[in-house]
């Protein structure tokens, strides 16, 4: 297998809570890789730590209250991002690794034109002249499919729709041709027809520019359609990771299984779907007090004594190469318990 572009090992990002009363272990020992040119889907519900993971990679965690624990390791193109000097880090951010966020309006500066904002990274990292920067901004607007780019380059964010702003954000992120794009819920704030446009655009740009994409989302439908591999997070940990086709065909962690079963589906006949949806009982625990043992055990239909006492490590599901499909669940050691329930 090729060398990973990004390797995250045992990442722990903790926050001191507001009243100083405790520590929120938002990301608590997360490991995964992103390979060149692939799309990795990072999936989970609110509070699972997926956004904190992505912010940690770029070291955008406000300190205090947050801090990345010693022993964490984030390697990008052979360098540990956690030990880089601020100056070296700036040479990577926005240049080799770029990021787009869910809400384009709050991530764009209202008092600068979109052209200025798109070109800024190129001016900083590549020392482009004013004229070259403007030409580059227009070229980027064209690339992301904005009509009349020569005109739009002088517009302000408030003059654009949500979908157009998200295209501007993408243009901004890609202006230096990054090797890795971190997209945090890039289509969540958009309507479904605009979401389809943006996902198609990201897919085309990724192929044309040969970059890797880390797509962070709560939407399993979006992941199924775009990701090569999927990492599922729950309660600050990676609970399952596998190739997309494998994960959807054979979800092995009870959380993944439950999550997939609770999604209302549009691709089934109405007569089959009316009635009760599967739901996962209870709710996500608080990051200040993760349950002992397996963190999913209070909501798990299969849990037994061992799950309440002992936290399972990532176990190999034995599909393909070692590590291709790993699951943090004791059921892998006693699969007969699953069939006994079913």
């Amino acid at each position: 297998m090729t060398e990973p572009l990004l390797r995250v090992r045992d990442l722990k990002t903790y926050f001191v809570t507001e009243h100083g009363s405790g520590t929120a272990r938002a990301v608590d020992g997360v490991s995964f890789e992103v390979y060149p040119g692939e799309t990795l889907g990072l999936v989970g519900e609110s509070g699972c730590g997926k956004t904190v993971t992505s912010l940690s990679i770029l070291r955008l965690i406000p300190e205090p209250p947050g801090h990345i624990r010693p022993g964490s390791f984030i390697e990008f193109e052979g360098r540990n991002l956690l030990t880089l000097a601020p100056r070296e880090l700036r040479a990577i951010r926005g240049n080799r690794i770029a990021m787009i966020f869910q809400e384009p309006m709050t991530s764009l500066n209202p008092v600068f034109t979109v052209g200025d904002q798109i070109a800024e990274a190129a001016v900083v990292h590549q020392r482009l002249s004013r004229r070259a920067a403007r030409a580059r901004a227009i070229e980027m607007l064209k690339l992301v499919g904005i009509p009349d780019p020569d005109d739009r380059v002088d517009h302000y964010p408030h003059q654009m729709s949500g979908g157009m702003r998200q295209r501007v954000m993408i243009a901004m992120a890609l202006v230096c041709h990054p090797k890795l794009l971190i997209a945090d819920e890039p289509t969540t704030a958009l309507d479904v027809t605009i979401q389809a446009q943006i996902l198609e655009l990201l897919d085309r740009l990724q192929r044309d520019l040969g970059m890797a994409v880390m797509l962070i989302t709560h939407d399993l439908g979006v992941v199924a359609g775009t990701a090569d591999r999927v990492v599922v997070m729950y309660a600050g940990e990676v609970v399952e990771q596998a190739a997309t086709a494998e994960l959807f065909a054979r979800p092995l962690h009870p959380y993944t299984e439950g999550l997939l079963a609770s999604v209302p589906r549009i691709d089934t006949r109405v007569s089959q779907v009316r009635g009760r949806l599967h739901s996962i009982p209870g709710q996500v625990p608080a990051a200040t007090a993760w349950p002992a043992g397996c963190r999913f055990h209070p909501r798990c239909p299969y849990a037994w004594d061992r799950c309440r006492q002992e936290a399972p490590p990532p176990l190999d599901a034995g599909a393909g190469e070692p590590g291709a499909h790993t699951v943090r669940c004791w059921l892998l050691t006693e699969p007969q318990r699953r069939s006994a329930r079913a």
Binding site: V192, A245, L260, S262, P264, R265, R274
Partner: protein, 332 residues
Amino acid sequence: MTAPAPALVDVAGLVKHFPADRGFFGLGRARAAVRAVDGVSFAIAAGRTLGLVGESGCGKSTVGRTMLRLIEPDAGRITIDGRDVLALGTRELRALRRRMQIVFQDPYGSLNPRMTVRQTLAEPLAIHRLASAADAERRIVALLEEVGLDPTYAQSYPHELSGGQRQRVGIARALSVEPQFLVLDEPVSALDVSVQAQVLNLLADLQQRRHLTFLFIAHDLAVVKHVADNVAVMYLGKIVERAPAPALYAAPRHPYTAALLSAVPVPDPKAQRDRIVLTGEVPSPAAPPPGCPFHPRCPHPKKNERCRTEPPPLREVAPEQLAACHFAEEPL
């Protein structure tokens, strides 16, 4: 299908135009009004659910709010249980509000942060003089149990609850006056998938147990597929298609419905689907295109000059299935 029940809710020709902002001190140039709702009609049988779907700005929430006269419509007729809602005076309207309630999307914004759950639930009982103090306590406990919350949450403030729990309180508040009709405005779109399923199941149980009638407003077509008996699709203030859910999902007749359905991501990597990706964006409701409002984005192969000039009426194109498209009978 059972025999058609008499409609509990009947809406005809509903119109709401919002006057455009004239800028500071009203000195700006007069601009065209936003035609948020532009002639909407539907009926909902007692105990049934109508799903009202569409993208941001299509006017679906405005329709929901006019039903309770939280927004006063400019024209049209709304009848609930045979009573003309728009003809009622303040006092009668208050009495009718006991029969109809609304649940909002954002349980964070719609609960008073300074009131405990008990106070939130006691307020409607007091306003409508439905219970004595002792009786109120008993009913609050029963309501909490009915929406799946432990009665000890009565002491809690909204910030102490999770999103799903807050939405359960919002539902309990709506139920406290024992309404017949609920407007559910994006009731699960702020919730995580696993919690969303819990709340949808709760709504289904409540509907059955209390024989409630729902207007379920949502942008998520997959969610609506799970809850609605009939579905109406809105685009730029108008209903472009209305049909029983099975027909609409199996064979959409309006190209916009077809595009919306095809754009919904499916959690199955093997699903091979012909996705219709619409070009362009929704035009401003202040300046809807002439003719068919959908024509600038319409992918229909038969699209022609007529679409640009002549607004298509909402007409029956299959049994019980209405679509506003000149070419609804032609394959897309």
